[in-house]
């Protein structure tokens, strides 16, 4: 029907995975995304990769932002990517990583399907802009 008005809203999940207990950055990002008009699902602390995958699939998020400060990114993020693939969700989910991720590990994460990595000092506007431009069109 021609009178239907589409109301697509960007849905994001902000995820804390693994053992690190600092989620200030994740909170800041969640709020910034909310203020940008996105719908944000925050995972809470200490989540296992499977939990993140389950939530991302059920919530059908366009964007999955993973915040990691513990240094375990090279084991945890691939697990999440594999999980997404298992449910056929890897293709059209924009996966971002943030936190403390050394330069030498980045190429591998990108190969795994992480679209962009935002290190310390990245401006919020930059992140929001990136999501707006790259969120999958469905």
């Amino acid at each position: 029907m021609s009178t239907e008005s589409e109301q697509q809203t960007i849905r994001c999940m902000v995820a804390k995975v693994g053992l690190d207990g600092h989620d200030r950055g994740a909170h800041v990002i969640a709020r910034a995304f909310r203020d940008a008009g996105f719908e944000v699902i925050y995972s809470g602390l200490h989540k296992a990769p499977e939990e993140i995958v389950q939530a991302a699939v059920q919530e059908d998020v366009d964007v999955l932002g993973i915040s990691i400060l513990s240094g375990a990114h090279d084991t945890l993020i691939p697990k999440i990517m594999n999980g997404l693939e298992e449910y056929g969700a890897k293709e059209d989910t924009l996966v971002l990583a943030g936190g403390v991720i050394p330069e030498e590990d980045r190429a591998e994460l990108r190969e795994d399907g992480v679209a962009e990595i935002f290190g310390p000092g990245t401006s919020i506007e930059e992140t929001v802009e990136f999501v707006r431009e790259n969120a999958p069109k469905r």
Binding site: E4, R34, G37, F38, I41, Y42, Q54, A55, Q58
Partner: protein, 364 residues
């Protein structure tokens, strides 16, 4: 229906979680063709028990829902949860946080949690929620739980899409008058006093009990199912047996029970489930379920018609040059909103009149 939607529907009916998730997104986004998709779902619905849970922020809804889902899973039943959070009226953004408190069933895909936000549409959320419930029902969930903050009319509309409405009342949530004036209490089929280990829980239970008795005795429709009984009788007139009604009037109604729980410890959850099952049984035995189903379909038809007419009016408004110019004209004192409404609608009314005329002519 497009081939994309057809395969999506097939995958959903085959139990693929990704397909269920995507269908709910289409419903939320009102993606082109989503209505055809929902139409197709209807044929596969009707099996799930739909439970609504509402209450003030901090009452412990998410924690109770989590424990409820866990218990259902232990009994071998699958669960769908729709958790509704408000969205910002300014940016449309939202933080949907109920998932965090649902940790007991993590890793179990047979508990499907979906967060939804209001997205600022008038009445749109209750339609979207009802449609998402249908998707979960068609998918094969045994229980569908709708969780929402009880803050206003919108939320009341949403929990009305459930068969059984539970209202959570935290201890010490005000005196009896406070409880009476909050309209949300009137829709409860089951009351839960959560955090029952806290001070003041006994008093809250007592006050609720008084209020329920008041509603029953006074006939003011203060509490629970009794309040909409007369409407039920009217709506069910085609199978209304007056004699049956005479002797059954007193004990026919439903008196909402009060269950005490400590959700964080899982205490009282079994009793809560029993109360829910009692109510489901009552709905079936008393024939109320059939009446409710009919009322719900009537409401769905009305809502869809309202939405369509609303959209048509927006088109008319756009065709008339948009609302800005009209507003400016009112501001300058050249005209007023009533005159504008009449002018904009005049051609529509003419069309409808002509159609009626044609109909009556062709009938003759």
């Amino acid at each position: 229906m497009s081939s994309d939607h057809e395969s999506l529907l097939e995958d959903l009916l085959a139990g693929e979680h990704r397909a269920l998730a995507r269908v709910i997104s289409k419903i939320e986004n009102r993606s082109p063709g989503y209505r055809d998709l929902v139409s197709e779902l209807y044929a596969h619905t009707g099996e799930a028990d739909v439970i609504g849970i509402t209450g003030s922020p901090g009452a412990g809804k998410s924690t109770l829902v989590d424990k409820l889902a866990e218990t259902y899973r232990e009994r071998g039943e699958t669960v769908g949860i729709i958790a509704i959070d408000p969205s910002s009226p300014f940016t449309g953004g939202a933080v949907l946080g109920d998932r965090i408190r649902m940790g007991s069933t993590v890793g179990d895909m047979d508990v499907f949690v979906r967060s939804m936000s209001a997205r600022g549409t008038l009445g749109g959320l209750s339609t979207a929620t009802a449609d998402a419930v249908k998707a979960m029902d068609a998918f094969g969930k045994d229980k569908v739980i709708i969780e929402t903050v009880g803050a206003g009319q919108n939320e009341i509309d949403i929990v009305r899409t459930a068969d059984t409405v539970t209202v959570l009342v935290p201890p010490g949530s005000g005196d009896a008058v406070q409880t009476l004036k909050a309209g949300i209490l009137e829709i409860a089929d089951v009351f839960v006093v959560n955090k029952a280990d806290r001070d003041g829980a006994d008093r809250t239970v007592r006050e609720l009990r008084d209020m329920i008795q008041l509603g029953e005795g006074g006939g003011t429709g203060g509490a629970g199912g009794g309040g909409h009984h007369s409407q039920e009788v009217i709506d069910a007139h085609d199978d209304w047996d007056p004699e049956d009604d005479e002797d059954g009037d007193e004990d026919e109604g439903w008196t909402p029970p009060i269950v005490e729980t400590v959700a964080t410890k899982g205490e009282g959850v079994e009793a809560f489930i029993d109360a829910l099952e009692d109510h489901q049984r009552y709905l079936v035995d008393s024939g109320t379920r059939a009446v409710m189903t009919r009322q719900r379909y009537a409401e769905e038809i009305r809502t869809l018609l309202r939405e369509d007419v609303h959209a048509m009016l927006e088109d008319r408004l756009a065709a008339a040059g948009g609302v800005d110019e009209l507003v400016e004209a009112v501001r300058k004192g050249e005209t007023d909103p009533y005159t504008i409404a009449a002018d904009v609608l005049a051609p529509v009314e003419e069309c409808v009149d002509e159609l009626e005329l044609e109909d009556s002519v062709s009938e003759e």
